[in-house]
């Protein structure tokens, strides 16, 4: 099933995809169907009692590592983001004035479903609730070689669209063989496959749970393949992963 979290009729609702519409699943409007373009799409994540852990991977595709002139890392290159950087499908993302290079990163996002600590690869899938699509924008002008990638590059307001759907893990039989694609104004600029990750999803869960507890609702953004290009105000960016969804985002100027 594909789950969404939306704002409609003055309140926030949980919904699922049903025949090309959103079927509301709780509250006073449970059972009602609304069209995709009637709602505001929020990140497809249920609220959590404490700050959501958002782990992101750098250089997790061999071709992207090469593109950025690094040799493939020997262990996962991870950084942490805040929940406040997340925004939903069809949102506006701000490009600062005077920067030369702002690029998208289409990423498979793993949502943890069961507390994970000292989990072995073979058991890792038992701890996954589902998958969604993240676009982990970066503004390379702000890259500094201190705890790189630094938060000014990677933890900006509006710069991590995620959604539209949380797809149940049971509906994704092999998350390690999904096509990824990004289009800018309809033109394909990035294409790849999750099969090319350097550290696959079970390996990542074993690695992180080896020194930290992952809680239900926590996220792992698993990195992006080759094919990043600059995005300008007005550009419509669609990051899409086979079987998971197509996440649309529009770049705007700071004054928008």
């Amino acid at each position: 099933m594909k789950h969404a979290r939306i704002a409609w009729s003055g309140a926030i609702h949980d919904a699922v995809e049903s025949d090309g519409q959103l079927l509301l699943t709780q509250g006073p409007h449970a059972g009602r169907r609304v069209a995709f373009d009637e709602v505001v799409w929020l990140p497809p994540l249920a609220p959590v009692p404490q700050a959501r852990t958002v782990i992101a991977l750098g250089l997790n595709y061999a071709d992207h590592a090469k593109e950025l002139a690094f040799k493939a890392p020997e262990e996962p290159l991870a950084f942490m983001k805040s929940q406040a950087s997340l925004i939903g499908h069809q949102a506006l993302t701000k490009r600062p004035e005077g920067v030369a290079y702002m690029h998208y990163e289409c990423e498979l996002a793993v949502v943890i479903g069961r507390t994970a600590r000292h989990v072995k690869k073979a058991d890792a899938y038992d701890h996954i609730a589902g998958y969604t699509v993240a676009n982990d924008y970066a503004i390379r002008d702000y890259l500094e070689n201190w705890y790189r990638p630094n938060l000014r590059v990677k933890n900006r307001d509006t710069c991590t669209p995620i959604g539209p759907w949380l797809v149940d893990a049971a509906d994704v039989p092999n998350p390690m063989a999904l096509k990824l694609q990004t289009t800018v104004n309809g033109k394909v600029t990035q294409s790849g496959s999750t099969a090319d990750m350097i550290f696959d999803v079970p390996t990542l869960i074993e690695y992180f749970s080896g020194f930290m507890t992952l809680h239900p609702g926590d996220l792992i953004l698993t990195g992006t393949p080759d094919g990043i290009v600059d995005c300008q105000p007005g550009d419509v960016i669609v990051t899409e992963i086979e079987s998971i969804g197509a996440l649309t985002n529009t770049i705007v100027t700071p004054s928008c």
């Binding site: 782990i55 942490m80 070689n145 705890y147």
Partner: protein, 210 residues
């Protein structure tokens, strides 16, 4: 009353004390850094690190010793305004490279020791605060907020340039080093206390897996 826990995201600040900056300055222009940091260098302390008042720190997964990180955390309310502050012990695994993000060093379970409660106030109240770190009763470090590279208003402004602090977020202002560039350390069996006038202390017993 249950012990205080942050409601939002907790951020830490690297290299925000003059002594550590000066010790690093000659190397800042060398590889792999190539230049001194311009924006605040931040990191996130994830919720698994939160250790409420009274919780022991358990050293495990191959970690035998930790840096003591006595600092002040600014507690944020509406409109990104500071509404209070807490003393915290921002534990980390000692590390000498600041090139890559410090997830393995800073995001281990229990690696943020918290006090029982928040002290209400405004940033100007803490401009000259002195924080003491004691290990087994002995003072091992005095942290003086007059020695910050970015004072509290400057740090808040420079962070706010690229991200909006949310109600419940905590911004830690940085940890100082000793004259030799290291930080005081703790290992299993130690009792570590962070204290300052007007604040709830943070007292942690460090334990290890046998």
């Amino acid at each position: 009353m249950t012990a205080w826990l942050p409601q939002g995201t907790v951020y830490g600040t690297l290299l925000n004390f003059r002594r550590e900056w000066d010790l690093w300055s000659a190397r800042m222009t060398q590889d792999p850094h190539k230049a001194a940091p311009r924006a605040p260098v931040l990191y996130v302390k994830t919720a698994n690190t939160f250790g409420p008042a009274g919780q022991d720190l358990l050293l495990q997964d191959g970690v035998g010793e930790v840096d003591i990180g006595a600092t002040l955390g600014l507690v944020v309310g509406a409109q990104a305004q500071v509404v209070g502050a807490v003393l915290v012990n921002d534990w980390c695994v000692p590390h000498t490279s600041y090139y890559r993000p410090p997830v393995k060093f800073r995001n281990r379970d229990g690696f943020l020791a918290l006090p029982a409660q928040v002290t209400a106030g405004q940033v100007r109240d803490w401009a000259t605060l002195q924080i003491e770190a004691r290990r087994n009763g002995e003072v091992v470090q005095t942290v003086d907020l007059r020695e910050l590279m970015r004072d509290l208003p400057t740090l808040l402004a420079d962070v706010g340039e690229f991200m909006t602090l949310q109600p419940g977020d905590v911004l830690m202002v940085g940890t100082d080093c000793l004259p030799d560039g290291t930080r005081p350390r703790a290992k299993a069996g130690d009792k570590v206390e962070i204290s300052a006038p007007g604040f709830a202390s943070v007292v942690t017993t460090v334990k290890g897996l046998a």
